[in-house]
Structure formats: C-alpha cells, structure tokens
Symmetry: C2
Subunit: 312 residues, 2 copies
C-alpha cells in the first residue's frame, strides 16, 4: 500500500453536493460525486488526481476533506455558479433509489483540460459522466498503462454511439448487472459479458466487472471469472458512493502495486469490495474520511474467511 | 466420497410429477419433488433413503431413475390414486416462477411411518412438506447426529406455530432470502439470521443457510459467515429442483464424510452449490441422472478458482 510518484491515478468525474434521504436519516448538501468517492477510496493505495469542476459553493472545508487524504486537486477548476447537485432517496430495501432532483450547474459547460502531469498518469479512470467528456479526457492522455471506465443507464440509452467509441479505448469496464443487460441485450450475465467484451477493442483481453449490489460482483478477465461477495453488513446507512468506492479501491490497488496480473486483479476486486463495504456504513463520505489502513487489512482478512475453503 | 452403512441420510419430502414450462422449452409429467432431487444429489456422497408416498402413476421407469443411483426406496409407499403433481412456468429472468396447478393427491392423507433402519439414520433431512408431517418423522428418529430442515413461504404464512416447533428440534435450516425476511420480519439478512438462529433451540450453534438464487448463499454458523457464490452458467434450462439439489449435496457430503466441523461445513456448501449448478443445466432430473463424480470434482475445483485469492 505504498505511494510513489509512478503510481498516479487520474480520474475524471463529478465533485458534487448530495442531499440524501434513507430509512435511517438524512443528510443535506454533503460532499459527493463519482470523483470524490473514487479518489477517497483510491487514496489508501495510490496517488489520485481529480479532473472536475465545482462552483463557488465548494468551500474550504470541502477541499480539506480531499486534501487530508493527499488527493491532487490541481485539476479541480472552480467556476462561477453552483456545483453539480443531486437529491435522492433510498427506500427500505436500499437497492432502489429515486433521483428527486438533478442539477448539472457548472458541469453543463465543462471542458476538461489536463496539465502535463495529468496527461502522463499511468492509471486513468473515466468516472460516470457524459461519454463525450470521457473521450475528451482520454484524447489528452499520453502514455497510460491501464484505463478504466464507468457509465450508467442514461448514457447507454441516450448516447450509445459515443459510449461505444470510449469502450473501444479502455482496458477495464465497470458496470452493474442491469446496465450490462441493457447494453448487451442479453439476460444471462455470462452471455452479456461475452458480448460486452467483444465491444471492447483496445486490448486482447479486456477486463469487465459486473457489480451485483449487495451480492458482490463478477470479474470477467482472460476468459476466466472471479467472484467477490458482498460483505454481509449488519447495518447499511447510505449506499451512495458504493460503486465509485469499489472502482476507487480496485483501480487504486492496481496503481499502488503497479501490477495487473491475475493475482493482483483478484486482490483488487477484494480491496475494492472492502472499501465499498466501509463506505455504506455512514452517510456520505464520513466513513471513508475516518477509515484506516488497519481496518482495511482486517476486513480484507475477513473476506478470506468468508470465501475460502479447504480443497482436501 | 465413499459410501458406508454408517453414512445413511434419510429424507422426507415429495416424490412428484412436474409439468414445467421455461423460455427454452417444456416437459410434461417429469419425475420431480423435493425428495427426488434431494436424494439424487445426495447419492453422489452418501446412502439416501426416501420417506414419501406416490400414486399408481409412479411406474417402473420412474423407480429406476432412483434405483440406478442406489437410493433406498423401502420407505416409498405406493398408494391408490395419483402422485403429487405440480404444473409451473418460469419466465425470462428464471428467478420468478408461477405455480399454475398443484394437486396433493395421495400426499393429502400421508402418514409417514419409518422402518427400523430409517429410525436409526444418523443424518436426516426434513424436505419441504407440511410442518406437521416433518414433526411426525422427527418423532420417530432415534439417534440422529444432524437434522436439517427446509420450508417455503406457504408454511411460514399458514402454519407458523407448527413450523416453529420443528425449528426448535433441528440443527440445520435451509431457506431462501425472501423466506428468511418473511420469517424474521427483518430486511437486513444478518439481522434476519440472528433472529432465526435464536428461534432454533436444539443446539448451541445451529447452522442457518440462506439461499440467494443465482447469487449463491450465505451460511451462518458458530457466529461466523461463509459465502458460496452461484456458479455463473452460460445456459440455465430449468431451475426446478436447484434448492433441493443444493440441500442434497450439502447434507449428502456431510453424511458421507461423517464430520460437521467448520472445514467440512464450508466444503458441503460448495459441493451443494456444485450439484445445484448441474441440476439446472437440463430439464427435470436429466442432468443429475447422467452426472459423474469426475464432473463434480472438476466443478468443485472451478469454485476454488472463482473465489480464492492470494493473501499476499
């Protein structure tokens, strides 16, 4: 879990304010967004940088949350106006959420421009934003080792062609099972995975991760499959950011060890699941803010206990 | 996977005729029922005996399916009338099924009577039938090492008191997550498990297995949790019998090795999942009929590859 200058991990995504209601309480205008959760999660393993835009409502105390975890904010532009804002509610089963309000605000006219050290980042993650913006970032990248991609149902429905363009240029694709079925038009996940991997043209053996919410995930890699379970938590306070935290832990771990073989891909899945399991234990970014490396290592060991069995 | 006279596994449940329709085809009056699937699955590891009743429509060729796998049918009574019959349909997602017709027939007046060697079976599984019948079987058991129990939503809704009586007398309880939530009135599975384990009074550390369909299962044991994933199949033909096959593989493995420690409980979960994954590959009992020990061992090894990761 060492950090070094060679282990830079760049992400583009939203830095936003979330207003969240769950069966257990609510939070108003709490720091959120895909790039926020991603980089907080990644910061335990690698050196994350954020490419995003915020409004004037982004204050010193918000900046501090990210800076305390040594996240590079040289790519975070502050612009006149308000930050991207999301208002949503979760219901009892915590798997379904309803977006009550969504305001792009300063994100509406965002044109990502990368500094030199961003362009040379070996690890890159294109968080969930318009595929056009993901493509703009990707075109400025000069010498990447591993590029990851996230998306949501909205872009699959409305911007499929642009999304398919990005998909051809990445090594790792992280989506949930509903999105995998939507994109592939296949109900069976193994058949869906086959089709989606064929859409990914960059590498001979692309990596596809299909998230299954509380049930964990399946990673399809090199013709093989790996399963990481969901960590069976006794209390889930707020599922916001779980997916981004997984991606941050996954990409962060790989950037930190700077190795992408089978062994490290599997471990990255588990570390991603570990961070995601902590993320949902409190509102917003609170749990990630007070998370320690010791806690991460302990839960990693619990995942072993949860999944491993003797062969003889 | 040796069989010996000391590794007897008795099950009470239905031997029935199923008429099944799935998106991939249909089968009419095919041999089914919880005791059928359970004992076929268990037969790869232990010596299963069936306590059940069938009608005159149960023919020699049906008997042969069970006898070919050396299943003891001395407790299978043939009675005037028709066998228990189920007609159902599965839809595209294969997780929801609709019962179109259900006829108890000879099962309506079934009064299970056990022979001496049944009463002395060290391993017993009370398959999904009326809790009153489960209790009748249990009262005749003389010296069991491990008793397992299955049920469905219908008994939880209509015969809760009788079910709770049985629950206090068993060591292992196998249900699906919807039933676990229904029984415990808890949404969170860990909290549901806590409550259900408190309902189980017999042993100090009862074993609760919550099945999660295609996502696998969670086993709660000795204050710990173990996760077995669902095997990601490319084609699922017919989900009928998957749950009973899991239970048969699980109990059968334990009876076969005659050990119930942590290591063997975990392995039993995996062997149960292995057999269930084969069961759904063809209609009815077809896949289990032609299943080999070699295939079981190979898929067991695949489960390791699917779940194990390096610690360092």
């Amino acid at each position: 879990m060492k950090k070094s200058l060679s282990n830079h991990l760049l992400t583009v995504g939203s830095v936003a304010f979330d207003s969240i209601k769950t069966p257990f309480g609510q939070a108003k205008k709490t720091l959120g967004g895909s790039a926020t959760y991603f980089s907080l999660a990644a910061s335990f393993f690698a050196q994350p940088s954020i490419i995003a835009v915020v409004g004037q409502d982004f204050q010193h105390r918000h900046k501090q949350i990210l800076q305390k975890r040594q996240i590079d904010l040289s790519g975070l532009r502050v612009q006149k106006g308000k930050s991207f804002a999301w208002t949503g509610e979760y219901f009892l089963d915590l798997n379904t959420r309803q977006t009550l309000k969504l305001a792009l605000n300063v994100f509406a006219d965002f044109k990502p421009q990368l500094l030199l050290h961003h362009r040379q980042s070996p690890y890159v993650f294109l968080g969930n934003i318009h595929p056009k913006l993901q493509l703009q970032v990707l075109r400025q990248i000069e010498n990447s080792k591993l590029v990851g991609l996230d998306t949501v149902d909205f872009w699959i429905e409305h911007n499929l062609k642009e999304l398919q363009k990005v998909l051809k240029l990445v090594d790792v694709f992280v989506i949930n099972e509903a999105e995998a079925r939507q994109l592939s038009k296949e109900r069976n996940l193994r058949q869906a995975a086959k089709k989606i991997i064929r859409m990914m043209g960059k590498t001979k053996s692309p990596i596809l991760i299909i998230k299954q919410g509380e049930y964990g995930l399946l990673m399809f890699y090199h013709g093989e499959i790996f399963n990481s379970p969901g960590y069976p938590l006794e209390t889930i306070f707020d599922p916001t950011g779980a997916g981004d935290s997984f991606a941050g832990g996954f990409m962060g771990y790989l950037a930190g060890v700077d190795k992408v073989d089978e062994n490290h891909l599997k471990r990255a899945c588990i570390f991603g699941s570990v961070i995601a399991s902590f993320c949902v234990e409190d509102f917003g970014t609170k749990r990630l803010e007070r998370l320690t490396k010791k806690e991460i290592q302990n839960r990693f060991a619990e995942f072993k206990h949860l999944t491993h069995f003797e062969i003889k």
